[in-house]
């Protein structure tokens, strides 16, 4: 059914997809996690309200999030070129992915942290905890299970984006599906990629949920 070398192609695509997804997720969290924390802390009901900063951050996040991914990717091309020297391939896609995903991650982190009961934070304050101690010793550890679920959702969403990036020269399974399936009409290859993507999504999703459940002490 497949031409020679196909398996190798798919193998490379698979590795590329994983690489893009994981790398951009990590970068997106490096930016999004502090951003989400900042959103919660500077909220008007937060532990250190800074209304103007909160409003500025919120607006930037909303703007980036409202730009469709493919358009964002194209718009970012000059920036991408400046950073990684090229606008095609896996490396270039990572730049676009992390810019698109960071604000999304920030919102997910924000919503997880807001699940932490206000009373627990107050109890910590009553013991003389500083805002920084509350962030690192109360908010993050208490929200861990929810953050992990958020992580699984973020990975699978970023994986979806990475496949889309195939349309504008990104690498990975998405690019194979588009190049062989769409442009050359090899439907079987397209379906195979789709199935592979579905399987990867399932694995990450399940894994995330499992780890979250296992580490959650609320029973």
């Amino acid at each position: 059914m497949f031409k020679e070398g196909m398996l190798e192609l798919v193998g490379t695509g698979f590795v590329e997809t994983l690489y893009m997804t994981l790398a951009s997720t990590i970068f997106a969290y490096i930016i999004g996690l502090p951003l989400g924390l900042l959103l919660v802390v500077t909220d008007k009901d937060g532990i250190k309200p800074v209304p103007w900063l909160n409003a500025v951050l919120g607006t930037i996040i909303n703007i980036v999030r409202s730009i469709p991914f493919l358009i964002l990717l194209v718009a970012l091309m000059p920036f991408t070129k400046a950073v990684v020297g090229t606008v095609i391939g896996a490396k270039a896609t990572i730049v676009g992915l992390l810019v698109a995903a960071a604000p999304f991650v920030a919102r997910m982190v924000e919503s997880s942290l807001k699940e932490v009961e206000k009373g627990v934070i107050e109890a910590a304050q009553s013991m003389g905890a500083s805002p920084f101690q509350i962030m690192t010793k109360v908010l993050l550890p208490e929200a861990k299970p929810s953050l992990l679920v958020g992580g699984a959702i973020a990975i699978t969403t970023i994986l979806g984006y990475s496949a889309m990036a195939g349309f504008v020269g990104g690498g990975g399974l998405g690019a194979i599906a588009i190049n062989y399936g769409y442009y050359r009409g090899q439907q079987d290859i397209m379906y195979m990629m789709v199935i592979l993507l579905v399987v990867i999504v399932q694995v990450f999703q399940e894994l995330g949920m499992k780890i979250s459940k296992r580490t959650d002490r609320r029973l």
């Binding site: 009373g119 627990v120 910590a124 304050q125 013991m127 003389g128 208490e142 002490r217 609320r218």
Partner: protein, 338 residues
């Protein structure tokens, strides 16, 4: 001997900004809480009790007035110094507010870790405290695996970790059943007596006040309605709200608040064994009194019975009856008729 002041509240006001406009919840509350005492603050729901206690450790910034802790004016401190002072005040809550992802032991270690105590030392101290509250065998349990009473004990151990001078308790037993409540109250009393920690107890239940408090302030409508020793307040509540709270639980409240004429409140030492006095009175004076409410309470190990009676209309007979009772050591006071 005049005891030293531990907490001093001076004209505490608190106004909240809400969507519906400004709402002043506390209108200028002053109080002097002495070292080593158990001070109760009681009031109906919405009276401003929680707001007041949160003003003591400044979880809520008063919009007016001053707070002192052991001679230090908290309301004048910057954030950093305030955090320092807060370590001298433990607080426990109705809903416990434990860290759900941490074991009992880690929860008790928490205040020590944030004040920079080395881990091994914190663990030692936490273990001692959990033993003190009777949870030596549940140190590795997570809050979700503990009962309400056990959770509150962890919370108490946690609040005591930094060796505070004061323990603030906001409805600490309101989420617990009567048996568990009794256990937790006993523990608090124990802590007060053994460690000499000043305790502030917020509650809407007179029974809690009677169980452990030395003095009590009744808060109503954002002001202290009356204040005194528990015995004073119980024997002779001067305000309507005081009377209502004292006779509140399980009794005919409407009768008590003075909807009927010729009502009197009787207090006698010794609880129900003194009730025959009433029968004697009715036989000897031939005056019939209608019992509207009755109960017995124990304050400082002394039983008190109290009743609300409606006396007959004829003034002379009424006076004879009252004299009969007062002659036999019963406190009789008229309930204001409105």
């Amino acid at each position: 001997m005049e005891k030293e002041t531990m907490i001093r509240l001076e004209g505490i006001k608190k106004r909240f900004k809400t969507k519906a406009g400004e709402l002043e919840v506390l209108h200028g509350v002053s109080a002097d809480i002495k070292k080593g005492e158990v001070f109760g603050i009681i009031g109906l729901s919405g009276a401003g009790k929680s707001t007041l206690v949160r003003c003591i450790n400044l979880l809520e910034r008063p919009t007016g007035g001053k707070v002192w802790l052991d001679g230090v004016e908290l309301t004048a401190l910057n954030d950093k110094n305030l955090r320092e002072q807060r370590r001298h005040m433990g607080m426990i809550f109705q809903q416990f507010h434990l860290l759900m992802q941490k074991t009992a032991l880690e929860n008790v270690c928490f205040p020590l870790m944030i004040s920079g105590v080395p881990k091994a030392q914190a663990k030692e101290r936490a273990k001692e405290l959990l033993e003190l509250v009777g949870l030596a065998d549940r140190m590795e349990s997570y809050p979700a695996q503990l009962s309400g009473g056990q959770k509150q004990r962890v919370a108490i151990a946690r609040a005591l970790a930094t060796e505070p001078k004061v323990l603030l308790c906001d409805e600490a037993t309101s989420a617990l059943d009567p048996n568990t409540t009794a256990g937790v109250l006993k523990l608090l009393k124990d802590i007060n007596e053994r460690l000499g920690i000043t305790i502030v107890v917020i509650t809407h239940e007179m029974s809690v006040i009677q169980e452990i408090c030395d003095r009590v302030a009744i808060i109503d409508g954002g002001l202290i309605a009356e204040e005194g020793t528990v015995e004073e307040i119980f024997r002779n509540p001067k305000t309507k709200i005081g009377q209502e709270l004292v006779l509140h639980e399980g009794t005919n409240r409407e009768a008590y608040t003075g909807r009927l004429p010729y009502c009197y409140r009787l207090v006698f030492k010794g609880g129900s064994e003194n009730e025959p006095v009433l029968g004697q009175m009715m036989i000897e004076t031939k005056g019939v009194a209608n019992i509207l409410a009755a109960n017995t309470r124990t304050i400082d190990e002394q039983a008190y019975g109290q009743m609300v009676l409606q006396f007959p209309e004829e003034k002379e007979l009424r006076n004879t009856m009252i004299k009969y009772l007062t002659d036999r050591g019963v406190v009789v006071e008229e309930v204001e008729y409105v």
